[in-house]
Symmetry: C2
Subunit: 460 residues, 2 copies
């Protein structure tokens, strides 16, 4: 028996949405799909699913949901790593994946206007055809959507040089709880009039409202890119090489660490002759022309002094190297189905200490660990390689200790994934009470009845 | 006779601040100084001035001000162009210029921690000594302070490649109305936990609280920089050249337009053999090494096809060229003491139209105009060259029309200066009512008794 509020909401929306309004009890496939994401969080328990096609429809949904007091969870492509889009019992899932148009692309003005469901890679491809690039490149970029990228402030390997999603959001159209449509920001490079509200939404994990449109900044695509795979005897040696690269004034556009467990896990899946080593750095340089990118790469390799360096001789090899990095998470997951992936970030000089801390935590819990990822950002995916739920339980305490250590360094419990459901236990580690209180007051201002993704991230 | 509230506040603060608490009626020099900024706004009427030396002191001031209900105006170096720091009658001016320490600089971690009163150029020089750069470079950079830069989200010529202040603010310590101290953000490259509150403060023009500390991102200083002065027959020809440069995939680090009135005004002050032309572009390229910067500049010049190009052969000439650009505003002001300077920004492809609109407005008002500045950002300083207050009055209507046109293009009434006092008449042009309402509700959340810079920018 469904609660009356939900029943009333369904009745109200049914005439407008028809088959795009789904009772999840009657649609097991959709039920499975929308009750999960790419995290290890247990499946949710959403009651209904609606698939709007326009801002006006999203607004109608939000108005009705507020009228009947039914909480909503906005959903993109479901590739999140923290459970932020997993519905609680009785929630209405608002799937924005059907709103996936590239509304406009203006090369001379360096921006695109997109709907939230557009796949990230699709925007980058369209930009590329115009000589431009959309830099944020999360590992899931061929399946994740821009609305989700904005809601989680997604990063990716190129962030070391180009920054994360926040840098590229010029403007947003959002639907507030209650259905009001508000536009924030603008469609030009600079603007300082009034309060900058759009940045507040970037990384807000669906807690403030529903993003229905975004104006995103594009940058000129560098014409020269060089990719190389550098082998090292240990993650510590790779980390020291990273420090020398930055100290030498080189700003790579990618500096990704793969440690032994990561390399071992991914090896069967790679489509190129990947060298054998205990650690590797995947590095890229880019510049206005190929010659400049080449010179940067030469200098980078001199500074890094790896045990071995393999330059990608063509685009296919470069892409195979990048794909190797992207496959690490799923390859580890196949071997360790209950693995836990953190995304600690610290000031870059603390990287050797982070590697040591991860090993110490691994020993303390008696569970293997892998630390790989965005070394250039000071942001590593520390994975505890659990095969069972029991093993995962054993990591809870050491992970909390790791979070406390990272925050004490000036770092964060989450460099990329967000808090969602899975990292809410770290709330009091990351934030002092007065900061958390302010965040919750801002949430209340936008969503006074707590109908937008309640209980996620910082929200009560 | 002073109001009782102010009298009580002064009594409360006197023991703690001694000579650093000043009754402005008794200190004519300080009174003159803190009642103005670099805008054409009429002088303010502040009642008292306090010069805190620490966060704790700022907090004590904010607590007492709230207790007695006295409004405060935070003040940096007073170089603002919109009157945002000009006190209203009876306000307490909180001058943060005495808090000007560089608290730490961590090259390997690419950040610095600063107090708000530190001069912008001082940070860039300290960063430079460590092989790094602090990119934001407003024309006033040798006299403006970082707290003010943050409060106004300052830009500058390098913004075309490096973006404005917002991109460089990793974390803030702020004092709220009532005295609570809150820290926002972090000290590492990435972090997505919770709501991003710090960006809300960037550009908030002192309406949300007092910034007492900032963690600012530094980037590797490019080792190759090339500077050149390109001459054109008209601003329209320079604008067309700018479009060709970007379409050709070149990302200059500076692309500044000077038109005929700007060139004429600045000519007597320049320290290098500046060519005679009706328009000029000051351009810079930068790269990891000099050779790459040179190749970019060659390509830029090919694409721009100017009537004449003068490359800066040494650092002194390059600096003289940059200084020429920085002197435009003050040189025009010397000739036209009542000049009004706008800072319209539009999508870059609308640049030719902006130049035309400025001319049309100039004709309609019967007042000469100069349009110069950040052509690469789509952000021009449209100046109406008024000698008298009466002339300035004649520009009011055409400027409103110009604002409406810019906003209709997706642009803004203020690309750099902010709304402050002088551009509040454009509030309803820039914002729809629902956006303005939200901004004011956010202000109310941070400052429920409206004690922080009331009546400025978007605030009631």
């Amino acid at each position: 028996m469904r609660p009356v509020a939900l029943e009333n909401l369904m009745c109200r929306l049914a005439p407008q949405f028809g088959e795009r309004l789904i009772d999840l009890r009657e649609a097991p496939e959709q039920q499975r799909r929308v009750n999960q994401d790419a995290s290890h969080a247990p499946p949710g328990d959403g009651a209904a699913l609606v698939l709007p096609k326009s801002t006006a429809e999203v607004s109608a949904v939000a108005a009705a949901a507020q009228e009947f007091g039914v909480p909503m969870v906005p959903r993109g492509a479901g590739t999140g790593k923290a459970g932020a889009c997993i519905p609680a019992t009785g929630n209405l899932v608002v799937d924005l994946g059907g709103m996936r148009q590239l509304l406009s692309l203006r090369p001379a003005d360096q921006f695109a206007v997109v709907q939230p469901g557009l796949i990230t890679e699709q925007l980058d491809l369209a930009a590329g055809a115009a000589g431009l690039m959309y830099p944020p490149d999360p590992a899931s970029w061929s399946t994740c959507s821009l609305g989700g990228n904005i809601a989680t402030n997604a990063g990716g390997p190129r962030a070391v040089k180009y920054g994360v999603t926040a840098r590229y959001v010029w403007g947003l159209e959002v639907v507030l709880a209650g259905g009001e449509v508000v536009r924030m920001g603008r469609q030009c490079l600079k603007g300082v009039a009034g309060l900058a509200m759009a940045p507040l939404w970037v990384g807000s994990e669906g807690t403030l409202g529903l993003i229905t449109e975004a104006t995103l900044h594009l940058v000129p695509a560098p014409r020269g890119v060089q990719t190389a795979w550098l082998s090292f005897a240990s993650p510590a040696a790779a980390s020291a090489a990273g420090s020398r690269i930055f100290a030498g004034g080189i700003m790579p556009r990618m500096l990704e660490l793969l440690d032994d467990p990561a390399l071992t896990a991914v090896r069967p899946a790679v489509g190129w002759p990947m060298p054998t080593s205990a650690a590797a750095l995947l590095v890229e340089t880019d510049a206005h022309d190929m010659e400049a990118a080449r010179r940067q790469m030469e200098r980078l390799c001199e500074l890094a002094a790896p045990d071995g360096a393999q330059l990608a001789s063509d685009g296919a090899t470069a892409e195979a190297m990048r794909q190797t990095r992207r496959l690490v998470s799923s390859s580890l997951k196949a071997l360790y189905p209950q693995k836990v992936s953190d995304d600690i970030a610290v000031p870059r000089s603390r990287m050797p200490d982070l590697l040591e801390q991860a090993q110490a935590c691994s020993r303390a819990a008696g569970i293997g660990a892998s630390a790989y990822g965005h070394m250039g950002d000071g942001n590593l995916h520390v994975n505890f390689l659990c095969r069972t739920v029991e093993e995962r339980q054993r990591t809870v305490e050491v992970r909390q200790a790791l979070y406390r250590w990272a925050v004490a360094q000036g770092g964060t419990v989450s460099g990329e994934h967000g808090l969602g459901l899975t990292k809410r236990a770290a709330l009091d580690i990351e934030f002092r009470p007065e900061s958390l209180r302010l965040q919750r007051r801002i949430k209340k201002l936008f969503d006074p009845h707590n109908l937008l993704n309640p209980g996620k991230s910082y929200a009560e």
